[in-house]
């Protein structure tokens, strides 16, 4: 690999943009295709397919065998609510490879002391979220139980096409939330993307178990195609 290609690739990855390196297996020739340029590439269909799946792989083309090395941004998690569940969830998410950010305007909750290794922002979502660049490689979780905090954050996450959006609360709580958000103009399709009650149905009781249920559900959203995803399940947390 030419150092120039490696540098350009690392620059794309730093900026959280997807990119693919195409290597001709016969000649060793290589080129970098940035996601924004994929549509112009001769291998457009293959490259777009691989960016969607996030998986590298060997492909036969009319010009011979090529290897596509796919780089999509590392997934991250943004949470509203510096609460007990978040304290359990943050270290689990870290081990799973996610970068975690917690937003909570309640300064008694949002302290670095309660979340030693995590980015904590003691601000309202309308201030905290826009600079974070929430994107489709971000999972968003609303855990405060407070509509003043969770609702605007959920609206933001849905508009940014997060790969996972989940909200804590019973079916009843969620039904009320859906009504409120509909009133603010969100579509049925958007609201249907919210996982609520949040988490896989594993009978979770403690905050740590609920964190595991949530991380299991996020993993399935990241890794499985929608057809293979576990059914939306009865409440595991309230």
């Amino acid at each position: 690999m030419k150092l120039d290609i490696l540098k350009a690739l690392n620059a794309e990855r730093n900026a959280r943009r997807a990119a693919v390196v195409v290597t001709d297996q016969a000649t060793g020739d290589q080129r970098l295709v940035k996601a924004a340029d994929a549509a112009k590439d001769p291998l457009k269909d293959l490259i777009e397919k691989h960016i969607r799946s996030g998986k590298s792989g060997m492909e036969e083309t009319p010009q011979g065998k090529v290897f596509l090395t796919v780089h999509v941004p590392a997934p991250r998690i943004v949470i509203t609510g510096a609460v007990h569940i978040s304290q359990a969830l943050a270290p689990i998410a870290k081990i799973l490879g996610y970068d975690v950010t917690i937003v909570d305007p309640r300064t008694a909750f949002a302290t670095q002391e309660r979340f030693p290794d995590v980015k904590v922002i003691a601000e309202w979502p309308d201030v905290a979220l826009p600079p974070l660049g929430v994107d489709r490689y971000t999972a968003f979780i609303a855990l405060t139980h407070d509509p003043k905090i969770d609702d605007p954050a959920l609206t933001h996450a849905l508009s940014r096409d997060c790969f996972y959006v989940g909200a804590l609360g019973s079916k009843k709580t969620h039904a009320r939330r859906v009504e409120r958000l509909k009133g603010q103009g969100l579509s049925e399709a958007d609201l249907g993307r919210i996982h609520a009650p949040i988490g896989l149905s594993i009978g979770a009781v403690s905050p740590a178990e609920i964190a595991v249920a949530i991380m299991g559900q996020i993993t399935s959203s990241l890794r499985l195609t929608p057809e293979k995803a576990p059914e939306k399940v009865p409440e595991t947390a309230s």
Binding site: L3, L9, R13, S56
Partner: protein, 109 residues
């Protein structure tokens, strides 16, 4: 947390090592069959001294890849290596899981 090093760290290390003037090769898992320990796209970066970071197999064949990578650094020509139970050398540097992997090794220049 080197055991949890992500591919991010590895490609950044490759750039940093090369920029420092070290001779560097990059190994990438390009194909797998059966139960291979590391997925396609996994990287190992190697320098001419035999230092390495990352993994292509979870430890089973890294030693052999490092040796080949030093050759690639010298010759400048990329190489494709295959490891698996069907391979005779597999008994020496095999994949205990019974899978087969193909690894592309190239110089960073």
């Amino acid at each position: 947390m080197t055991t949890l090093a992500t591919d991010d760290d590895i490609l950044k290390a490759a750039e940093a090592w090369r920029s420092e003037g070290r001779e560097v090769a990059l190994a990438t898992v390009v194909e797998t069959w059966g139960s291979a320990p590391r997925p396609v796209g996994s990287n190992l970066v190697i320098d001419s001294e035999g230092n390495f970071l990352g993994s292509v197999s979870g430890g089973c064949v890294e030693g052999a890849v490092v040796t080949e990578a030093i050759d690639v650094i010298e010759s400048g020509k990329p190489k494709t290596l295959e490891f698996g139970v069907a391979d005779e050398t597999a008994w020496k540097v095999g994949l205990s899981c019974g899978g087969t992997i193909r690894v592309y090794v190239e110089k960073v220049d």
